[in-house]
Symmetry: C2
Subunit: 397 residues, 2 copies
């Protein structure tokens, strides 16, 4: 007498979580340094010292009953105002506290948006492959709607706009966009985003109702080349809800702190904001963790030292292509997504596991024949793992 | 094109939250000291200094990439083991990490349990009046099941077992028990709990399926008389899931940290634990906030200085009964729940609001004709508010 689909999701962890737990067990047995765990997006770069200093300052200067007390459900007013001002500084926007709803990380932000926009069980959310697999759980079991998967454009993992056009129908509520992308590391170009915005405007008109963009942006600040620009979606398409998390930019994934940005330009702004608040309430989110709301405000606009990710990307991309792996050069996030060699991705990743090299099969991201390598690890771990990647290439090709 | 019931919940905040926001606006206008806000259960007693010390120690001693990193979805193993050992010390149980699932506070714990146990839209969860109103939201909109309300036993707010027996049917999945109770402050007696356990065992057999107790226990440690014992429900009834929060015991309501306890004795323990994990995943909870998981472990078994609540209770109970208010003496939590005088509870609370005295109508807790007074405030606030309570009694009686 348990919810069967919920039970199934609890019995079978995501492949990523399963590999993460396997890695922890192996580390306990053979030593952390002998496990080459590229499975999970747990940043190895520590939070910047400003986070530590912010916590000390808050605990030394502020009233603990306020610091640790309930905030308004949407987040403390000064926190939202500070974050809005930082966004305005960076993007030339005019947001205020009214546009932000603080969340328990991006997963909560996404779950809340799906719940707010789901009107019936027929409703569909379009997910662009390759995608973060938990989207399907949040949309399906979480919101009671249907995920519709659109394959990527071959060769560069940009959005296949023709395939997307064919997938949009009268039940389409939103398209989930994740750029810089997990798992491919690709940043959608301005050309792609303009095409997307044009298509959605046209389709919204055709079906007589808004089709939203839900922009999942935990990797916004993680780009590695001077000429890479991540288009800020609300500037291209009005009906955009942005889901942000400090997990990657400030290396705080365990603290669960993020926000939903609801721009004024969103159709029926006040109702949309209210529906987001209502969805948070319905899902049991009372307020985002209060100390880390304050930390996010104090650290607005800052990031961890991201230079190691750039170094890791260059090292991995150079070596893997030299070994004969075929892959799109990632411009952001901390993932590289090469094709597997000589066998399907599950078999390849199982084989890698025998060498204590943990990478995630592309099938889990809707892209069979690839593997996701998370390079948010010590550079030394990559250096020591490269011979294994080389050996696998030799053995499998 | 927004989820209409979710939108409605976002547009109309709970009465408690509405009063809380009203109080904040009034405080900004006339000064915090002139608003007598008894609306929300936001502890005024600060977190104990051990919390502050624990945070300093963790930040000074531990690797920030671990401290702030993802934990296992069910919580860090050592955290769960430490909390289990503390429970074992206090209750003579034999729990381990395997029995605990760390949550983003009690609201998340409850939402997760409702979701895990809901198999169809016909499923019912019994809520005992007077009750915390968000139960209805978590059960209805959150889990997609039906709340069934059972009125209290007149005179003492214990469980009316006959009324409960009549309410149980083939769709009953669980009974929500909240003792010490919000809003009445009543602790269910051992006699009540034995009667409840016997009834549920009999009804489980009659309907051929387990009827669970979901025990919502954020106020477990908040009792004020040496002879008040809060029965620990798993010792009376096997199919009990305990939802705990550190919000009140450690004065950390904004930090959102708590757990679900799933005892080994629960039917199909492994599946039940897995369903709880699955429900957490479905609702977008990745892991409970990592720093405060560690704080909870370091502060296991400790509490804030709760003596002020005892003092506040005595002061309020003595004065209100002297003014002619009729009320059950609260044994725990930090609420007192007197009858309103001379008019219905909404009218009475509106009248109180004109004097900047904020109390919540009993109707919101399923008990018309009463008002909830949260006394987790400065004793001075109570002292200064007593003349207003007296004046209201004179004017309304």
């Amino acid at each position: 007498m348990l919810n069967p689909s919920v039970l199934a999701l609890g019995q079978k962890r995501s492949t990523i979580r399963e590999l993460f737990e396997f890695g922890n067990r192996r580390a306990a047995k053979i030593g952390r340094e002998n496990v080459f765990d590229f499975s999970i997006g747990n940043p190895n770069v520590p939070a910047p010292d400003t986070v530590r200093q912010a916590i000390f300052d808050i605990l030394n200067q502020e009233d603990p009953a306020v610091t640790h007390g309930y905030t308004s459900a949407q987040g403390a007013d000064f926190v939202r105002e500070t974050i809005a001002q930082d966004l305005n500084r960076r993007f030339g926007t005019a947001y205020g506290a009214r546009n932000l709803y603080m969340t328990v990380g991006a997963a909560a932000a996404l779950s809340i948006c799906f719940k707010a926009l789901t009107v019936s069980a027929e409703d569909e959310f379009i997910v662009l492959a390759p995608y973060f697999p938990e989207y399907l759980v949040f949309i399906g079991e979480g919101a009671g709607a249907k995920p519709v998967i659109v394959p990527p454009r071959a060769g560069d993992f940009q959005i296949d706009l023709d395939a997307l056009a064919r997938a949009i129908g009268p039940h389409t509520r939103a398209v989930v966009v994740n750029s810089p992308n997990n798992p491919s590391g690709v940043v959608y170009s301005e050309e792609t985003i303009r095409g997307l915005a044009g298509l959605l405007a046209q389709k919204s008109q055709e079906f007589g109702q808004p089709i939203y963009i839900i922009s999942d942006e935990p990797y916004r600040e993680l780009v590695y080349d001077a000429d890479t620009v991540v288009p800020f979606l609300p500037q291209y398409y009005d009906n955009t809800l942005v889901c942000y998390s400090y997990s990657k930019s400030l290396s705080l994934p365990g603290e669960r702190i993020g926000y939903v940005l609801i721009p004024d330009a969103v159709q029926d702004f006040a109702d949309t904001y209210a529906a987001v608040c209502g969805a948070g309430r319905v899902l049991g989110y009372v307020n985002a963790p209060s100390l880390f709301q304050r930390v996010a405000a104090r650290c607005a606009g800052q990031t961890s030292d991201l230079s190691v990710y750039a170094k890791n990307r260059d090292l991995l991309y150079g070596a893997l292509t030299a070994y004969g792996y075929d892959c799109v050069k990632p411009q952001g996030a901390f993932y590289i997504f090469p094709q597997t060699l000589g066998m399907d991705d599950y078999a390849f990743c199982e084989k890698a596991k025998q060498y204590d090299l943990l990478v995630v099969p592309g099938t889990d991201f809707g892209a069979p024949g690839y593997m996701r390598i998370s390079y948010c690890v010590q550079t030394e771990t990559i250096e020591r793992a490269l011979p294994i990647f080389e050996r696998l290439a030799r053995e499998c090709r």
